[in-house]
């Protein structure tokens, strides 16, 4: 008897895969790290520590979310680290030496970030420069520009308590003794919005499509250049936002710094499952990945490791976090 239908055995997906695979593992790693640090150090399990960790995670999270977009297009943005510091410098300089209102300076930060993003996008999408090189160059340029504009001096943004320091309350409300880290709420909100953008809007869809197969996307009649540039502009936008949150925690923004932050953000994104060869990635994954990095950075000193050992352990844990998923996937394939 002929039977034309093909039997489709329902593939039993593992619990982890149903929860989002690597993302989920990384989240577990983050939670595990947190618990280990809490167990090992009394100082770590305090609310105040938690708030401090959050304070210093916002800008890395924001940069990570932003850089997820160029990464998904199979590009990269190395300029966000020094760029972020550059925008914060320029914003602080406007407030301090030109008496701009804080709000206006914040907008300048974000716009400046978008302009550099536009430049990166132009170089990559129109001039077809390799993203690694193009953004390495803009990274140098922004580092220089920031210092030149402010004249080499460190710039403090309005400190807590000053008139125009309301922006600090964006990240942390302190009612006398209790401190509410509302920055965390913002992060959650932004992650939700950007997840939506990535998964349910044209911008996100075409970002993924460009990373999957740029030429095929172009042949489908998509304005590839526009969306390719947009990915970098989004990244720049978030670097600008990160500048604001950075200025809110670091009393003085120092020119010449910032190199290395981009690696934390990019590293977080990759651990969170973003593929550097493009087409794959999620904002929630990036969030989880960045958390792992931030937790390691803040937690290792608490368990009494010196700087050198912190480096070694960070490297090993990050490799481990990614390996878990890879080994799991391999085992499943063999089955």
């Amino acid at each position: 008897m002929a039977n034309n239908t093909v039997k489709t055995t329902v593939r039993k997906e593992s619990f982890i895969n149903r929860m989002g695979g690597q993302k989920f593992i990384v989240l577990l790693v983050a939670i595990a790290l947190f618990l280990v640090f809490c167990a090992a150090s009394p100082g770590y399990r305090k609310t105040t520590t938690f708030i401090t960790i959050l304070d210093y995670s916002y800008y890395i999270i924001l940069m990570g979310i932003g850089v997820t977009f160029p990464l998904i297009t199979a590009g990269v943005d190395l300029s966000i680290g020094t760029g972020m510091v550059c925008y914060a410098l320029v914003g602080g300089w406007l407030i301090r030496f030109h008496e701009w209102p804080t709000g206006a300076a914040m907008i300048v930060c974000i716009l400046f970030g978008m302009v550099i993003g536009l430049l990166n996008g132009f170089l990559v999408a129109i001039m077809e420069l390799p993203p690694f090189l193009a953004t390495l160059c803009t990274s140098m340029i922004t580092r220089g520009i920031g210092s030149v504009i402010v004249g080499g001096f460190g710039i403090p943004w309005p400190t807590a308590g000053a008139d125009n320091a309301w922006y600090r309350n964006l990240f942390k409300l302190s009612n006398g003794s209790t401190i509410i880290p509302i920055g965390l709420l913002w992060m959650i909100l932004i992650v939700i919005i950007m997840s939506f953008v990535l998964n349910h809007t044209k911008v996100g869809r075409y970002t993924i499509a460009i990373g999957s197969n740029k030429e095929a996307t172009r042949l489908s009649g998509v304005n590839v250049r526009f969306y390719h540039i947009l990915a970098y502009v989004i990244c720049g936008f978030f670097a600008g936002l990160a500048a604001v949150s950075y200025a809110a925690v670091v009393p003085t923004v120092q020119p010449g710094t910032g190199a290395g932050f981009e690696l934390e953000a990019i590293g977080g994104a990759i651990i969170g499952g973003v593929s550097m060869s493009g087409g794959i990635g999620s904002v929630t994954g990036t969030l989880a990945g960045v958390f792992v990095i931030v937790l390691l950075k803040t937690g290792l000193p608490f368990i009494g490791l010196t700087a050198n050992w912190q480096q070694i352990i960070t490297g090993l844990v990050l490799i481990g976090a990614v390996l878990i998923d890879i080994i799991k996937t391999k085992r499943e394939q063999i089955k």
Binding site: V6, T201, S220, G221, G279
Partner: protein, 498 residues
């Protein structure tokens, strides 16, 4: 057939080193299926790419619906009503089927892309076309055949006036081709103009109304299909007559030794308890429907995918094949069905690709003997009549069929005793096809053993000495060529076992 909808006149196009189109003409009418034929590298794809704005023509005119047009990109062509199903797959592997089909024209609900509606629409489209694909599946997980069907569905979903199919059937099985023809007839009845490019003569006779033939970038002529014979068309294409008759009896002597024996092979998701024997000098055809597991069987034998259980004997000796190196060392060669992904290194030269599997023979000391390498590459370019300006041409610039010849050359340099040809003539023109057939017969006569996986029934019947039929990962039958017919093979290919 209605009035003329599209005219291409005196189209000229050159690439560095190649004069791809030399004043070519083409005329398409409403409600006709117009075949575009020609050998590999004749310029068919290039002509269509010029039409749809992917390449800019050097000279000539395009008239569409009475107006002269010039498209600067595929979007403009699409908007005007000309869509194309490309010869090379253009999928977005990380997106779902539905997302692929509606890329660039998503349904929206406010800001939000309405994926639900897209899935529904895709489902409707598939139902109408009688295709069984889950719109929510990720594109890269589909087989080549299914991906091709998605591409076709995508083209049809446009509200087009002219649809171009550039070798749609190359990746499809017989049943799928039947479905495709139903779709095309339906489109024809709706007064669309259709350009159909294919190397399969049978199809041309069945589905098309007129045929335009190209040769070496020039226009040869246009025929009415009904009024012409297969030989007329082939003659126009290659300048001689080629005969393709089914094989009636096995050429293999009864006492030929078994060179490859596979026992109870189990691998991957699909291959389940496959056993067969391959004799010296034999061409063993592997037939079956799409997804029958033939490719996976071949890959498992070649060590490309891990084997779960089962034994492989070569010349009576049990061998362990863990990876392609082991296979090659044991004298097995494998020509993949997906040449772009697994067959060639596209951005390297013809010469470099030719020696890829056998570099050891082209070394002098620790250095690669580039002269020897180019010489052997040139030899196979001549033997297989590969169309390329030189052996230093990058493979990416060759036409699809000629790329296939480069892959064949790669395995021929390595003098393997067992050759697995997975869809060896996919996308190859009649002339070259008969060359490859001749070559395979020659190889078999020289004592090589060949497994030929093919979805083209005529090919199976013409070339095989024996046919193995698979269905859903299991061997469902084995039949000598003398007894094999289209009917009994189809029967086995759809047989429920156990």
């Amino acid at each position: 057939m209605g009035e003329v909808i599209l005219t291409m006149k005196e189209i000229d196009k050159s690439f560095p080193g190649v004069h791809a189109l030399d004043h070519v003409n083409l005329e398409v009418k409403k409600g006709e299926v117009h075949a575009l034929m020609g050998e590999n590298g004749a310029g068919k794809s290039t002509l269509m790419k010029v039409l749809t704005g992917i390449y800019t023509k050097d000279s000539g005119t395009i008239t569409f619906e009475g107006k002269e047009v010039e498209f600067h990109n595929s979007r403009e062509a699409q908007d005007a009503g000309i869509v194309i199903v490309h010869q090379e797959l253009n999928m977005l592997g990380h997106l779902t089927v539905a997302q692929n089909i509606f890329i660039g024209r998503e349904f929206k609900k406010g800001m939000r892309i309405d994926d639900k509606k897209m899935n529904e629409e895709a489902k409707k489209l598939f139902d109408r076309l009688n295709i069984d694909i889950d719109p929510k599946e990720t594109m890269s997980k589909l087989t080549v055949g299914k991906q091709q069907m998605c591409e076709i569905a995508k083209a049809i979903s446009h509200d087009a006036k002219v649809i171009i199919f550039d070798e749609p059937s190359a990746a499809l099985t017989e049943t799928e081709i039947e479905e495709l023809f139903k779709i095309i007839r339906d489109l024809r009845s709706k007064d669309l103009g259709i350009v159909y490019i294919s190397h399969r003569m049978d199809e041309i006779k069945v589905i098309t109304d007129r045929v335009t033939v190209m040769r070496d970038g020039t226009y040869v002529g246009t025929l009415i299909t009904e009024d012409s014979t297969k030989d007329d068309i082939i003659n126009m294409m290659v300048g001689r007559v080629i005969y393709e008759d089914p094989k009636t009896e096995s050429m293999v002597p009864k006492d030929a030794p078994v060179v490859l024996k596979v026992e109870h092979l189990k691998a991957g998701h699909m291959v389940n308890d496959v056993s067969f024997e391959l004799h010296k000098g034999e061409i063993l055809g592997f037939s079956g429907l799409m997804g029958a597991g033939r490719t996976e069987t071949a890959r498992a034998i070649f060590g490309a995918d891990p084997i779960e259980s089962g034994d492989i004997y070569i010349n009576g000796k049990k061998v362990v094949i863990k990876n392609p190196q082991d296979a090659v060392a044991n004298g097995i060669g494998y020509l993949s069905e997906d040449r772009k992904r697994f067959g060639i290194v596209v951005d390297k030269t013809v010469a470099e690709n030719t020696t890829m599997a056998n570099l050891d023979n082209y070394m002098s000391g620790i250095f690669i003997d580039k002269k020897k390498e180019r010489d052997v590459a040139q030899k196979y370019v001549d033997d297989l009549a590969t169309k390329t300006p030189s052996v230093d041409q990058l493979v990416v610039n060759l036409s699809g069929g000629n790329q296939q010849k480069v892959v064949i050359a790669k395995w021929l340099t390595r003098d393997c005793d067992i050759l697995i040809f997975d869809e060896p003539t996919r996308g190859i023109d009649v002339g070259a096809k008969s060359e490859i057939y001749k070559l395979m017969n020659q190889l078999a006569a020289d004592g090589k053993a060949i497994i030929m996986i093919s979805s083209e029934m005529t090919e199976i019947l013409r070339m095989s000495d024996r046919v193995v039929v698979m269905c859903e990962g299991k061997k469902t039958g084995e039949i000598g060529i003398a007894e094999a017919t289209q009917e009994n093979i189809m029967n086995m290919a759809t047989r429920e076992i156990g």
